[in-house]
């Protein structure tokens, strides 16, 4: 018995040689994952950077270095500037809408009521189901002729058939549609994140605040919200990064149109780099995502660190 207790009493000396091997084994354990990531994320990333400063196209696969010429040409293109603006509008519009809906949804689901499990299961659907498939359903709902949205509005007498909007054919409405579909896809995630945060707040803190006279809004916005901010920040990292770089919703719903009104960076990179085969310009367009990604990730990481201390 004594020998079993002993290592706990003075672990440093007994585990010395094990700890040394732990280093080796630890590196071996990490190696496959790190190699995979280096070869298929790190290397392609460097290639993407090189493409953006070369004259590479699929018709002329030369590695000729052209400096920043690609970037200059892109920035001078008004379509690109529109794309950049669209990307910001798309990202922040849908995240804002998603967060507001998420906060309200979480408040509702906090209260126990019969059928809450089923309601939660239904509410999580937009985030769980492959977004490409859900987007196709939305495309059908926004159909120019058979739109169920229009049918409902006509039936309710809000508009007549002659005034029925062509959702995906009007530049402003099309932008609204992509934002709504993306917010629709993300708000269940926001609900889940808010719920996870709120339930992790110790009940005695809330009770103490209530005893001290804090009302519903004060408890929510001055006690709970600051406590759950780190977890919400992680949710936002996911949301912003995946929205800013998304292409599937725009590709399927509007195909960037009408007249580039909903074109976003990911979509434009795809159009130029893959569809037109102009790899170097496509890569340069995609690289415009990078500063935003860096900024978001660093800001959020800092924020998380500060909160932990």
């Amino acid at each position: 018995m004594v020998t079993i207790v002993e290592p706990i009493a003075k672990p440093a000396s007994r585990f010395r040689f094990v700890l040394d091997r732990r280093e080796v084994l630890g590196s071996l354990f990490l190696a496959p994952a790190i190699l995979y990531v280096l070869l298929l994320v790190g290397l392609p990333f460097l290639l993407a950077v090189y493409y953006s400063v070369s004259a590479y196209t699929i018709y002329d696969p030369s590695w000729r270095f052209v400096g920043l010429a690609n970037f200059e040409q892109i920035v001078r293109n008004p379509v690109f500037l529109e794309t950049l603006g669209n990307t910001f509008l798309f990202t922040f519009g849908s995240q804002f809408l998603g967060l507001v809906l998420g906060k309200f949804g979480a408040l509702l689901l906090l209260r126990p009521f019969p059928g809450r499990k089923l309601v939660r299961a239904l509410i999580i659907l937009p985030w769980a189901v492959p977004i490409a498939l859900a987007t196709v359903a939305w495309e059908w709902m926004f159909d120019s002729l058979y739109s169920v949205v229009n049918w409902t509005m006509i039936a309710l007498g809000i508009i007549t058939r002659a005034e029925a909007p062509n959702w995906l054919g009007n530049p402003h409405l099309a932008m609204l549609c992509v934002i709504v579909v993306n917010a629709w896809r993300f708000f269940p995630f926001a609900i889940v994140v808010f719920l996870a945060g709120i339930t992790s707040v110790p009940q005695d803190i809330i009770d103490a605040a209530t005893v001290d006279g804090a009302g519903f809004w004060r408890r929510n916005y001055q006690i709970i919200l600051p406590l759950i901010l780190p977890i919400v920040a992680v949710g936002l990292i996911f949301g912003i990064v995946f929205t800013f770089t998304d292409l599937s919703i725009v590709f399927l719903l509007t195909n960037g149109g009408p007249i580039n009104a909903t074109s976003v960076l990911g979509f434009e990179g795809f159009q130029v780099g893959i569809v037109s085969g102009d790899v170097s310009h496509g890569a340069a367009i995609s690289l415009f995502m990078l500063p935003v990604l860096f900024f978001v990730v660093i800001a959020m990481l800092r924020f998380i660190r500060q909160r932990e201390i």
């Binding site: 079993i4 585990f15 091997r21 084994l25 590196s27 354990f29 990490l30 496959p32 994952a33 995979y36 990531v37 298929l40 994320v41 392609p44 990333f45 290639l47 509702l108 009521f113 239904l122 999580i124 659907l125 937009p126 769980a128 189901v129 492959p130 977004i131 490409a132 498939l133 859900a134 987007t135 359903a137 059908w140 709902m141 002729l145 058979y146 169920v148 629709w184 269940p188 889940v192 945060g197 992790s200 780190p230 977890i231 920040a233 992680v234 949710g235 990292i237 996911f238 995946f242 770089t245 599937s248 990911g266 990179g269 795809f270 790899v279 496509g282 890569a283 990604l293 990730v297 932990e308």
Partner: protein, 281 residues
């Protein structure tokens, strides 16, 4: 009396709000279901009430989907891709997650965050160089290119998830095994893996759903219909010229959505505690 009215009002408001959220999230799926069961003459008539059947429901669209399209083929492709990616991911991510969790000090934390960040590198940044790499390897237009590429996001994601789970497991368990004569590797295989089977199962399920959800790489690498995974096939291949086969598309979308939706609902709590594991202690 006033109290009763106020309470009733609050209840009505509450369940009304819940109803609004349920309709908002579930309606597109109801729409898939009802569209897939309607006959074409019912679907393409603007005077019909769209929310219910005006003609008797029909399984015609499902029959067409299974017999006249490559739908079954796409299902198989997705299954093969999913199983292969799951195997690669588990082999790489389980030891990596364990190793990250047991590393002490700044190095482990930095590596963990580094791996997590690679999950955030978007496909739309990497698809151009990757499509060249895929072509160089002779995998162009083949579903095996997806088996190669999907682990680039499933491995970081799952390593991060598993790191959280392993961190929650007390190291004393392995130390006890080591004291009893196990090697460090033996302790990992005999103690850590069996105890983390629920976590590994979560990772398996989530890797599989991630492969089903992915769209960008599939769209970029694969153009021939027979090689498409189900999500890409349903979303892009059931359109002939300008004509959308809405009944078939909705039937396919519904069938492909159901397993993912069920898997998510069963494993959601584990998943959330995994991704937020780095943020709250």
């Amino acid at each position: 009396m006033r109290r009763v009215i106020a309470n009733t009002f609050r209840e009505v408001w509450f369940f009304g709000a819940v109803g609004f959220f349920v309709v908002l999230t579930a309606f597109p799926f109801y729409w898939m279901l009802i569209t897939s069961l309607k006959s074409n003459s019912d679907l393409y008539n603007v005077t019909n009430i769209p929310f219910w059947f005006n003609d008797p429901p029909t399984l015609e669209h499902f029959r067409y989907l299974f017999e006249q399209t490559l739908f079954v083929h796409w299902l198989w492709n997705s299954l093969i891709i999913g199983v292969c990616v799951v195997a690669i991911t588990v082999v790489a991510a389980v030891p990596a997650g364990y190793s990250l969790a047991r590393m002490t000090g700044r190095k482990g934390e930095a590596l963990g965050i580094g791996i997590f960040l690679t999950y955030l590198v978007p496909p739309t940044l990497l698809f151009l160089p990757l499509s060249r790499i895929v072509a160089d390897l002779g995998l162009q237009n083949s579903m095996w290119s997806l088996v190669l590429v999907y682990p680039t996001f499933t491995i970081p994601f799952c390593s991060w998830l598993l790191m959280g789970f392993f961190k929650a497991m007390p190291p004393e368990i392995e130390e006890a095994a080591i004291v009893d004569g196990c090697s460090l590797f033996g302790a990992f295989v005999k103690m850590a893996i069996p105890l983390s089977l629920p976590a590994i199962l979560t990772v398996v399920i989530f890797t599989f759903t991630l492969t089903l959800q992915e769209f960008v790489y599939a769209l970029t690498f694969i153009s021939s219909s027979a090689q498409k995974p189900i999500t890409l096939g349903v979303a892009t291949d059931l359109v002939r010229g300008d004509i959308f086969f809405w009944g078939e598309i909705m039937a396919g979308a519904l069938l492909a959505s159901i397993p993912v939706a069920i898997a998510y609902n069963l494993f959601l709590d584990r998943f959330i505690s995994g991704i937020t594991g780095g943020a709250v202690k």
